[in-house]
């Protein structure tokens, strides 16, 4: 895999993270389901997944950048596994509504595991880490630049919505209203 192809793959990874963050917003605003603290932590770790690809696009692919995303994905998988286990007993309806039979935290666990597998698979291609002499577009080209700013904008939007939801104190265990809007 060439450096240019790896950068394109990283940009696509950023679009995948953006899709996850937009899906979370869709559940929050369309279904009016406020995210619980563990749900927020999983969102934060999905956003943290994006830092590695941003560095790969700007400075070129490096194993350390992929390692950062791997660490974020493992932490996210731990948090979502805990939430799955909290609702694993028979008769427990789970937290929030289900999408295609799975709750959002189950989808989050699947997403984090998929990220771990995909990042490990991409790291198998050593040629991306060698300077192949190709002239790369500055900061990855338009596709990558849009992806980076989209993910940053969605993360910034989460700053605002989380502040509205939790206010300046501890976030409610089972939030039903926006603390700063009531």
């Amino acid at each position: 895999m060439t450096q240019a192809r790896a950068i394109t793959l990283n940009a696509l990874g950023l679009y995948a993270v953006a899709l996850v963050l937009m899906a979370a917003f869709a559940a929050q605003f369309i279904l009016r389901e406020l995210p619980c603290p563990l749900c927020l932590l999983q969102r934060i770790l999905f956003a943290a997944l994006a830092v590695g690809p941003i560095l790969n696009i700007r400075f070129g692919p490096r194993p350390s950048h992929y390692a950062m995303s791997l660490l974020a994905a493992v932490a996210g998988a731990v948090a979502s596994t805990r939430q799955v286990l909290l609702h694993i007993l028979p008769g427990d309806a789970g937290y929030g509504s289900a999408l295609l039979g799975y709750h959002y935290y189950t989808w989050a666990l699947i997403g984090f595991i998929a990220a771990i597998i995909l990042i490990a698979a991409v790291m198998l291609f050593d040629r991306q880490f060698e300077d192949d002499g190709a002239v790369l577009p500055p900061t990855g080209g338009p596709l990558a630049q849009i992806a980076v700013w989209l993910v940053i904008a969605l993360t910034a939007a989460n700053v605002v919505t989380t502040l509205l939801e939790c206010g300046f104190g501890a976030c409610a265990d089972n939030p039903v209203v926006y603390e700063l809007l009531k």
Binding site: C36, P37, L38, C39, L40, L41, R43, I44, L45, A47, A48, A50, V51, I54, L55, R58, F59, S64, M68, L71, A72, A75, V78, A79, R82, Q83, L86, H87, Y95, Y105, T139, V148, V151, I152, T155, A156, N158, V159, T162, L163, C166, G167, F168, G169, A170, C171, D173, N174
Partner: protein, 52 residues
């Protein structure tokens, strides 16, 4: 409040990764990840009734 700060910190790390220096981005990312793990452990040691 801690979740708002964590989102803000991740947004800042992204901006530093995109515009700032690489070592600073790596250091900030490590700090944010440690803060995330600490937040998780804080909640994981609470007595739980629901998903939090």
């Amino acid at each position: 409040m801690e979740f708002t700060l964590l989102f803000l910190a991740v947004a800042i790390v992204m901006l530093v990764a995109w515009r700032g220096s690489r070592p600073l981005a790596l250091g900030l990312f490590a700090a944010v990840l440690i803060a995330c793990v600490a937040t998780y452990l804080h909640h994981a040691t609470d007595t739980l009734k629901l998903s939090f």
